[in-house]
Symmetry: D3
Amino acid sequence: MFFHQQKLQYNATPEAPDAVYARKLQEVIGGQYGEITVAMQYSFQAWNAHIPGKYRDLLFGTAAEEFGHIEMLATMVAQLLEKAPLGITEEAVQGDPAVAAVIGGTDLQHAIVAGAGARPVDSMGNPWSGSYVTASGNLLADMSSNVNAEMQGRLQVARLYHMTDDKGIRDMLSFLLARDTMHQNQWMAAVKELQADGLEQMPVPSNFPQAKEATEFSYDYYNFSDGATAAQGSWASGPTPDGNGEFGYKDQPMAGVPMPPPTHPDARFYGTTEVPNRVEKAAGALQDKLNRE
Amino acid sequence: MFFHQQKLQYNATPEAPDAVYARKLQEVIGGQYGEITVAMQYSFQAWNAHIPGKYRDLLFGTAAEEFGHIEMLATMVAQLLEKAPLGITEEAVQGDPAVAAVIGGTDLQHAIVAGAGARPVDSMGNPWSGSYVTASGNLLADMSSNVNAEMQGRLQVARLYHMTDDKGIRDMLSFLLARDTMHQNQWMAAVKELQADGLEQMPVPSNFPQAKEATEFSYDYYNFSDGATAAQGSWASGPTPDGNGEFGYKDQPMAGVPMPPPTHPDARFYGTTEVPNRVEKAAGALQDKLNRE
Amino acid sequence: MFFHQQKLQYNATPEAPDAVYARKLQEVIGGQYGEITVAMQYSFQAWNAHIPGKYRDLLFGTAAEEFGHIEMLATMVAQLLEKAPLGITEEAVQGDPAVAAVIGGTDLQHAIVAGAGARPVDSMGNPWSGSYVTASGNLLADMSSNVNAEMQGRLQVARLYHMTDDKGIRDMLSFLLARDTMHQNQWMAAVKELQADGLEQMPVPSNFPQAKEATEFSYDYYNFSDGATAAQGSWASGPTPDGNGEFGYKDQPMAGVPMPPPTHPDARFYGTTEVPNRVEKAAGALQDKLNRE
Amino acid sequence: MFFHQQKLQYNATPEAPDAVYARKLQEVIGGQYGEITVAMQYSFQAWNAHIPGKYRDLLFGTAAEEFGHIEMLATMVAQLLEKAPLGITEEAVQGDPAVAAVIGGTDLQHAIVAGAGARPVDSMGNPWSGSYVTASGNLLADMSSNVNAEMQGRLQVARLYHMTDDKGIRDMLSFLLARDTMHQNQWMAAVKELQADGLEQMPVPSNFPQAKEATEFSYDYYNFSDGATAAQGSWASGPTPDGNGEFGYKDQPMAGVPMPPPTHPDARFYGTTEVPNRVEKAAGALQDKLNRE
Amino acid sequence: MFFHQQKLQYNATPEAPDAVYARKLQEVIGGQYGEITVAMQYSFQAWNAHIPGKYRDLLFGTAAEEFGHIEMLATMVAQLLEKAPLGITEEAVQGDPAVAAVIGGTDLQHAIVAGAGARPVDSMGNPWSGSYVTASGNLLADMSSNVNAEMQGRLQVARLYHMTDDKGIRDMLSFLLARDTMHQNQWMAAVKELQADGLEQMPVPSNFPQAKEATEFSYDYYNFSDGATAAQGSWASGPTPDGNGEFGYKDQPMAGVPMPPPTHPDARFYGTTEVPNRVEKAAGALQDKLNRE
Amino acid sequence: MFFHQQKLQYNATPEAPDAVYARKLQEVIGGQYGEITVAMQYSFQAWNAHIPGKYRDLLFGTAAEEFGHIEMLATMVAQLLEKAPLGITEEAVQGDPAVAAVIGGTDLQHAIVAGAGARPVDSMGNPWSGSYVTASGNLLADMSSNVNAEMQGRLQVARLYHMTDDKGIRDMLSFLLARDTMHQNQWMAAVKELQADGLEQMPVPSNFPQAKEATEFSYDYYNFSDGATAAQGSWASGPTPDGNGEFGYKDQPMAGVPMPPPTHPDARFYGTTEVPNRVEKAAGALQDKLNRE
């Protein structure tokens, strides 16, 4: 169950309206790595978790916080739009290219659809999609995904920070940056602890039977591009991070195997095959068959 | 530039047709973590890279390999569909519930749209989407994303392995599992090397000025759920993985701040406000304004 | 802020596994009118609300309940999948058409992607989309949308009720049906109260200046199909629900006006116009212009 | 069958080109509540209708009119784009910030893809989606959805009205506003008539057996947020709109029930469970099983 | 304007219910090349046309016919679903694997969402998308697109024909096949006539100034794969179909040019560059700048 | 297998940064007819091909070239963004409407998400979709689709050419235009050769049995709009392009057939039927049945 409290975690009030910036903030509301994504991702990971205890509590506890971040951002967006010219015709708008410029960069649906409110979309207007969510039931894989999400998220907030001078916006972003710092660290700690607890190892999934893997290909880099410097990396020699092998480097791909011959599916799919398809020839066995079916 | 060679990296021929399994393989062709995703993701990361050398070579070299994996899988799918009943009406199909069952589980577009061929979609028929790709220009963030992608990908292939007895399919999957093992290790090694080279650190982005972050919130876990065991994890005390702080644990969220008052945007958005909207009252100043605009 | 409690509102445990039914339940998790939609819709309506007080409290209070409904359904789905054959190869699966049939009807991503867990998608596997949300800032419009959502939602749950005999599932659905009954009633009551409070009237938006509307077309039905019985309805005569007019019925559409002539945009768009485009004729003024640009 | 007449229902010619406004109009062509949505929605409702007569005639008759509205808007968009600078390079464009501003706000695909023509997309460029359509076969639910669609649609047109001074555009919008007035009224009248005819009642679906609903939860508001004023509404006490109960108000949610224990699906999904996954431990029964499969 | 007549163009009544086939028919209703696509595509091409007369009349006249085809198919789908078991629990369904098999293959939203009616989706449940439409304003390009659409469409209908024995369905399909025959021929004739009328030529757009094209690359095939037989085709030598050149064949790609050096965008994007990012080094000029911004 | 070479086919370096133009170029990277589409389309056509030899070699050889075009464009986009103001706050940006105007027209995700790099999206930010790909197994249909794709693609590049004065961009576009010229010609030649080789004819599919088609409708134009000039085209009389018939022209549609009666599906779908649904009446047989199920 979720309960709501009519408070925000932290300040979310701008100094001044800025409709273009409101659009930019949509990226961290409804984008691939926005707050809706992490709130939903941590929730589904918790609901799909197979063990009770610290990992699931961590997922539930962080998920609920992230729903509150959506709220902070949506509240901020509404205020940024409150007094901003949103394409409403006025002398000032019509005659002033600077104002017109602003309008050119706004999310038009902020005005036409939401009446100066936030929306579950990204900065280019793409609606948030359930396909952004990762929740596989394997906690090492999923918490690695969470590390990734928090990295991308903090990166985007840092970029957004430099796109405004508004002290109120920057104050809110300074809080979100801090929480992203915590969450990057937290998921990284959990990734380590999962391995220390012996619950999962690299490579994920770690207890897939080794005998079923073509292990002769498991630790060699095959170079499919003509740059030579990939041979200089730690992925080209030395022990592998999973502790199970030694990296090798091949400057050429494997020789490969012949492609299997092209398929010839049922004639009733009408694909193009070697059999001539001329009307005058079609009175043969194939055409007889098609006529019957 | 890309060049194509009419060979496959490894065997991709099934023992027998299996249209339902063909549909399942679509997940690792066109799903969120399928081969199209990694091929495109590593390509865009390379094109957006800001430094030449080993990291970019690694991206280019692996991207090209992944395009070849799409090819292996598409070739396999076509063969699995070649002799399979794909809903084409025949006595056998009509009368045999087992055959009917098989048909119930196929990708109908394999038959109707592709004529017994592969498609750029996932196992539920959703078309592959460019929104699956992550390429931010920050290599630590992006290569962490690659670790995640290879973990999810190998997990899916491992599950698929157990869903068939076909020796040909399993042979191909044993190869893909091995390459996913390599790629998990490779990106993890690169993640470490980026930090060892001093190019980037945690938290990403690491040179965002600390003075601009609300650091009092950077290392504490605030518990937004009522489970108590999250306090037992390494994310609740001790040094943080980024080396910059000490984890703390708060069993209650922050007190929060009052929500800012609701916004009152321009009346021409016709949102609902405290101003009564009755026709008889609307003859006042607001209505005058609306009448004029 | 949102807080999470590790309890469910109501029982959500099935008697037996049923992977096909798990897929069906996805419709009311991640479908157009599933619980994610109403949870997000009521949240965005609250965040975009322009007046404090009873309407906004109602939105916040109901939104949080709906997040809990997602949780109940996700928990149910995971249990339905727990012991179900999900395409994992076993003798029983291979040889038994009934089991094969079941597998044909499952959500393949439940197995391959989520490892027997719920996903933010509908029953056909389409990911939930932010485009399902309605939040315009006009409460009469939005709460009418909520009435609609709860009607469609309860209808879907009622259909799902008849698709299983499982007492555990039916118990949970009986609860969701009851809450949908409440929410239909609640939003309908709010729709009436908004009008009684004079905050908004029909037609929405009600204080758009009448002088700007072509009122001669505001209350007549024009019949664009050849059925004659639409003339028998209450929409063909008598007072209109908005209280502002009298319905009329026209058995023919308006005469219409001539279409404006086709447009002739800039030649550099290379659209097809009356100007012949032959290479030998292109040496004229148009081609000169194109050559210059 | 549908027939086309080369006339428009009403004037649709602007005074002057305006490429930014053309983009805004796309919202009511191809947006969630645009004319494509209502044309398709009423059509599918008619095709899925289970009774002949006045309701189905009403659906058919209105659907055909809405297809004509798409046409009016598309015609208007083409004219707005006809003489507008659409990013084509010219001295005027390069040097004049006002012209540049205009270009910043245009739909780039109007120029690059459509060559100065309309497209089946919304104002942010999202393509129209079949997922916007509601057609359930239950006419009370569906016509309530139609009321909602016409409310949102008229609201958007009213906002668009204030975003231009162009007399030609405003003339066309004054017609669309009038038709939306009619359609809001018409569907509301139909909603009442369906109930008066005894064909359906609230709550939808009304003849779902009451004994199968957990009626103790059917008429009480449970407050999941900490605002107290929802208790003041007509949804907190008094008779319910469906005529079947009395509203109640609970300032606390239900106590809830314990969450069922986490699931433990088949080991071949490689989810994370309490069983340690260390390589050295995996030589036990679980690993034996995995090796065999 | 569009008018509707309550007749179908042709018979659309099945002999017997078949819910799996109903799902298959969705492909030609709401798929990439279904009837919604062609109806909308021809409409938008007509609305975006720049010349009155025979071509535009042809577009309008065919578009309206295609709307009627959607109607025929939707009517057929509803009848196929009318008496079919749609997952409703009954003894017969539970105990009979054949019935279960059928249910496994149905569109679950046909039952849960539409209540046994058609939907604007394809056979895998993907909603129809406005991105399927092609309407560029260049009639030679667009009518070539129409040829393509009718080819793919007829191919799909032919495949569907072989997937049923139902005489009623086959009767309807025989009509749709005939109309696709006509429309393939009609658009092909129009493609020729456009060129004969001198309105447009190959390559589209034909009056793009030749001096602006790198004509040394305009007529040579560069072989980027290692198969040698492409040299045998008519595209490897002889006159080109546009009449402007001679085909050439190069068995190797062009030598290519060096890639430009990687970009170094503004430091505030926090991309990874050669500049070490270590905390201890960040006290330099870059960090000073970031601190200031 | 694919191999990558760190060269570009042709120059791809702009004279100057231009973030708005970078966004425009996204159309031909990730749009419906962008380079990702043709690269993937030709690849899937090759993988789904049923005959070895010249046609498949042509597909493979061209597909690989198109992957290189994505690379050229992505490289260009990164350079156009390198020095451009991307919404980063600076005095110049804040105070200068021309700069602000530029920012209004940029792809905001270029800055926030990609850190000044290219993305797999179109010019309006829609992610590339697998639904753009056409690969049916019928080569005449598919290569006609390729003709269409190259026509639309060259048209878009020609329009883009006129939207910039930058000599570097124009140089690259002159190359892409030339390759599109080649590819239009090449696919058109292949379309002819397929017919000359007798592998397929019009109408596609050509060996579908004529006896199964309602041939009385195969060659007549039925006019569903009221324009009369479609009678003047070559599609209204004379021999048909498939060589099998004579065009006819009917200025009226077919008389049509009565619509089948509305369906009455199972009562448990709760659709609206003639049976009154009043609670007081529901105590009859229907309600008894619902109560039992």
